[in-house]
């Protein structure tokens, strides 16, 4: 008994040393996002939750007190579409053929993990379920030791909507709190957010001539067929469950199980015509959809279209950029030039039109690059508070978790960022990042990839 007690106490002791049961940040400027900014106030964290927030909040006895004088507390940032936590995953969730004519598309990244996968057998039609792993759940694929967790957390990201992204039906995303965990399960806030769908051939699934589908219309036909099959599958299964006598035993199909489990779908759309196409597709499929990409959302015809369908969108922070070392003879289309010039104005346009949107980092891991990318949107007309919302409360609302994440409010999860300076300023210093109430110091930045450029994508083989 005493032995057990001793062991128990030592475990508690360890936990205490890591994060005291009660933490209080006082005298800090608190940007709650959900409510008004508190010029000088206190946040009390207890058992990983926000216990109290306000100007006059009593600090419980025995609390670890941080003097926040001259500092600001923000809600933890939420990356609305990420692969952080899945080691070897392609870092960027590129939204497909968004480059438009004449613009070089992002080269497909071949990750080591993908390269070592055995080649999938050649699909001869939708029945072969090509490039489909719809049953995969990010929560089951994550590794707490993925080095990217610490990198992005150092930039203030406390939560990621992490998705498997390889394939047409790549799998289901999970909402993760980026704690340093022993077991992956400790990180999971919501196990299944929805199904990640892409319409470009993923690395590891072979190149040209490797079977159905090959053309964009093949991808779309496959997506349509899957949902027809899922409807029929459910019908047959339900009938069999009701009364199996006299009925042929239905076949088990994990691809359809995965699709039926998913409560929403994510579809890629960068060009306006892709937004139109994908919104119509989702309407045909009767699936709640979130579009991701949004490169041309700055164009005047985009916002009315998105508003008409009343669906939220995820905006990639990887803005279109002028090609590095361009061929001087090469010609660029007016459209691709506009995308470079106007791309970062997309969030401001969406905000003005009242289209719900959230940011996603699209593989921009390094904190300095992230700040630079958000700054571009702010410089292009997005208010700072709206930029912050698109990284906190908006993604929480889009995923239906605003009751636990996204703002500094009593009872919500204590995901906080403590900074000296505005969170989206390049010379801001992030002091501490709290995830589930646990404090983390940011790590020193990795060597930069060069001024004015995003860093190399990890895992990229050149």
């Amino acid at each position: 008994m005493s032995k057990f007690l001793a062991a128990f106490l030592s475990v508690c002791g360890l936990a205490l040393a890591e994060s005291p049961p009660v933490t209080a940040i006082r005298n800090a400027r608190i940007v709650t996002v959900g409510g008004p900014v508190i010029a000088k106030g206190t946040v009390v964290i207890h058992s990983g939750l926000i216990e109290a927030v306000g100007e006059n909040v009593a600090i419980p006895a025995g609390a670890w007190v941080i003097d926040g004088e001259g500092m600001t507390v923000y809600p933890g940032l939420i990356d609305a579409l990420s692969t952080v936590g899945i080691p070897g995953a392609a870092p960027a969730a590129t939204a497909g053929r968004g480059g438009g004519r004449g613009q070089t598309a992002t080269p497909a990244t071949t990750t080591t993990a993908a390269a070592t996968q055995p080649a999938a057998p050649r699909a001869m039609g939708p029945e072969d379920r090509p490039q489909t792993t719809s049953w995969l759940l990010a929560a089951d694929e994550i590794s707490p030791s993925d080095h990217r967790i610490e990198t992005v957390r150092s930039g203030g990201i406390t939560t990621t909507a992490t998705y498997p992204t390889r394939g047409i039906f790549a799998g289901q995303g999970s909402l993760l709190d980026l704690i340093t965990a022993e077991k992956a399960g400790e990180m999971v806030v919501v196990p299944s957010l929805g199904q990640y769908i892409s319409v470009t051939r993923a690395a590891g699934f072979g190149g040209f001539g490797s079977g159905f589908p090959g053309a964009l219309m093949g991808y779309i036909a496959y997506i349509r067929q899957i949902y027809l099959d899922a409807d029929h599958y459910k019908l047959v299964k339900d009938a069999y469950a009701k009364d199996p006598r006299g009925l042929e035993r239905p076949q088990y199909d994990r691809a359809l199980e995965g699709v039926l489990e998913s409560k929403r779908i994510l579809l890629p759309a960068n060009r306006v015509i892709e937004m139109d196409r994908m919104l119509r597709l989702a309407a045909d499929l009767k699936q709640p959809v979130i579009l991701y990409g949004m490169r041309e959302a700055y164009r005047p015809e985009a916002a009315p279209l998105l508003k008409k369908f009343a669906r939220p969108v995820l905006v990639s922070l990887k803005w279109a950029e002028a090609p590095r070392d361009p061929d001087p003879e090469a010609d660029q289309t007016l459209r691709s030039l506009s995308n470079i010039d106007q791309g970062p104005a997309a969030p401001a346009a969406l905000q003005k039109a009242g289209v719900p949107f959230a940011f996603y980092t699209d593989g921009i891991d390094a904190p300095r690059d992230l700040v630079r990318a958000v700054k571009k949107a702010i410089d292009a007309g997005l208010a700072r508070e709206d930029a912050l919302r698109a990284f906190t409360l908006s993604p929480a609302e889009i995923y239906g978790v605003a009751d636990r994440l996204g703002s500094i409010e009593k009872g919500k999860i204590a995901n906080l960022v403590l900074t000296k300076g505005d969170i989206f300023d390049s010379n801001t210093h992030i002091e501490t990042v709290f995830v589930d109430g646990k404090p983390y110091k940011p790590v020193a930045e990795a060597p930069p990839g060069g001024r004015g450029q995003t860093t190399e994508e990890p895992g990229e083989i050149r």
């Binding site: 053929r97 079977g211 159905f212 090959g214 964009l216 779309i220 010039d341």
Partner: protein, 448 residues
């Protein structure tokens, strides 16, 4: 460069439909002769055609003095405005895919086709498969979204293909017999195989149709049976069997043309059009007996083995036998001067001026089942019209204005001035982006 300029023209909003009178034109109606006079357009339709017409109050007048007015050109075979590939070439039967899903309303080829007088085009899947994807008829309403391009009410189609294209896919690089591993070889590899693929697909489609017919009958009786699985691939072929979807078949040689007509007869469906049909002149009576239309090239021949027996008299010869013949482009560039393609039928085979023009207007309209709406200048039809400065069958003729549904979608004067503005806009952006670029980095170190 030309491409860029035209992309900017997307911004040019078409002038909205209103009451328009086109005056003093030489009107080539195609179906009702040629006259000098005026056309009144109201609510997007042709309201009046005559030497003297009542000009409604407030109407916009277009003076076409010394100019020619013809119905909008219709291209029965085009692959423009398709996003992400025109061939789902991975399989021999790709009837599950649909061009309608991947319309690219921003393809500048639409605007250029418009500038060449084309107002309607049949957008086909490629010819990589014995049975290809579903097709769609578009009006060249440049500036509209994908849905706004679709020719409402036009029956959808499906692409079939015979001969070298469907049988060569999947063969090793370097051709058959080359010393390379035939990775992903795809059946069929012979013309016999192409026939077999089509027959096998329709065997499946018949069984599928029977399954659904049985279900529909039981549902009609009020029984609560579980419906069969909906299969997009077979669904399209079921529609062919039911006459709800037109077959547009790519073909060259007379033997394969006869083969396809026999297969269609065996399974009880119709070939709506034979596309290319370069040896059609050899089997014209059989084509006529089946009731298929023929959509061919003017004077392209011998560009591959199966085109070796093609002759430029093909269109005229088939026409003389009574087949509805159209001339198509199959090409974004050729599409811009289908009027001169039509003129070639006069040189080769002595087709009359009117019949030549019919080959790019009313005849393709008949082939696509839209001749009640377009293809000629008649009261009640859609106001899809083209104004040329010279006789439209002349090499020197230039399109001045193009109207679709009574709306001006192309205006040469505006196009010329907009091109300059677009070039200036582009240069401005280029300079701006160059200025905002960080200073050139030293070349990155090579990495593996």
């Amino acid at each position: 460069m030309r491409k860029l300029l035209f992309i900017a023209l997307a911004a040019l909003a078409p002038v909205a439909a209103e009451t328009i009178v086109i005056e003093n034109a030489t009107i080539m109606t195609v179906t009702k002769g040629t006259l000098k006079g005026s056309v009144v357009i109201r609510d997007g339709k042709i309201a009046e055609v005559g030497e003297k017409v009542m000009v409604p109050q407030g109407a916009t007048i277009i003076d076409a003095g010394g100019q020619y007015l013809i119905p909008g050109i219709i291209d029965c075979h085009s692959h423009i405005a398709v996003d992400g590939g025109v061939n789902e070439g991975s399989v021999s039967v790709s009837s599950m895919v649909d061009i309608k899903d991947v319309i690219d309303p921003e393809d500048v080829s639409i605007y250029r086709a418009l500038a060449g007088g084309v107002t309607t085009a049949n957008i086909l899947h490629g010819s990589a498969n014995a049975i290809g994807g579903k097709t769609v008829v578009l009006k060249m309403r440049w500036g509209k979204d994908a849905q706004g391009m679709i020719f409402e009410g036009a029956l959808p189609g499906i692409k079939f293909a015979l001969g070298e294209n469907p049988k060569r896919a999947g063969n090793p690089p370097g051709g058959r017999g080359a010393n390379a591993t035939p990775v992903f070889a795809r059946y069929p590899a012979t013309r016999m195989g192409v026939e077999d693929v089509i027959r096998e697909a329709f065997n499946q489609a018949k069984a599928y149709k029977a399954e659904w017919d049985a279900y529909d009958a039981s549902a009609a009786r009020g029984e609560h049976a579980i419906p069969p699985r909906k299969d997009l691939k077979l669904e399209a072929l079921k529609e062919v069997l039911e006459g709800k979807r037109y077959v547009h078949a790519h073909c060259y040689r007379s033997d394969e043309i006869l083969m396809l007509l026999r297969v269609a007869d065996d399974y009880g469906f119709k070939i709506r059009t034979l596309q290319h049909v370069l040896e059609g002149y050899k089997v014209a009576p059989e084509i006529l007996a089946h009731g298929a239309g023929a959509s061919t090239f003017s004077d392209w021949w011998a560009y591959k083995i199966e085109a070796i027996d093609a002759i430029p008299y093909n269109a005229a010869l088939m026409q003389k036998k009574g087949i509805v013949v159209s001339l198509n482009s199959d090409d974004a560039e050729l599409m811009r001067h289908l009027n001169t393609e039509a003129a070639k039928a006069m040189k080769y085979g002595g087709v009359s001026e009117n019949d030549a023009l019919a080959m790019v207007t009313i005849n393709p309209a008949k082939q696509l089942g839209i001749d009640q709406r377009v293809g000629s200048i008649e009261v009640g039809k859609d106001a899809d019209l083209v104004i040329y400065d010279k006789h439209p069958l002349s090499d020197y003729a230039k399109v001045q204005k193009v109207l679709i549904d009574g709306t001006v979608y192309f205006d040469r004067d505006k196009a010329v001035s907009a091109a300059k503005a677009a070039a200036a806009e582009k240069q401005k952006l280029l300079d701006k982006i160059k200025q905002s670029q960080p200073r050139q980095q030293p070349a990155r170190r090579p990495n593996g």
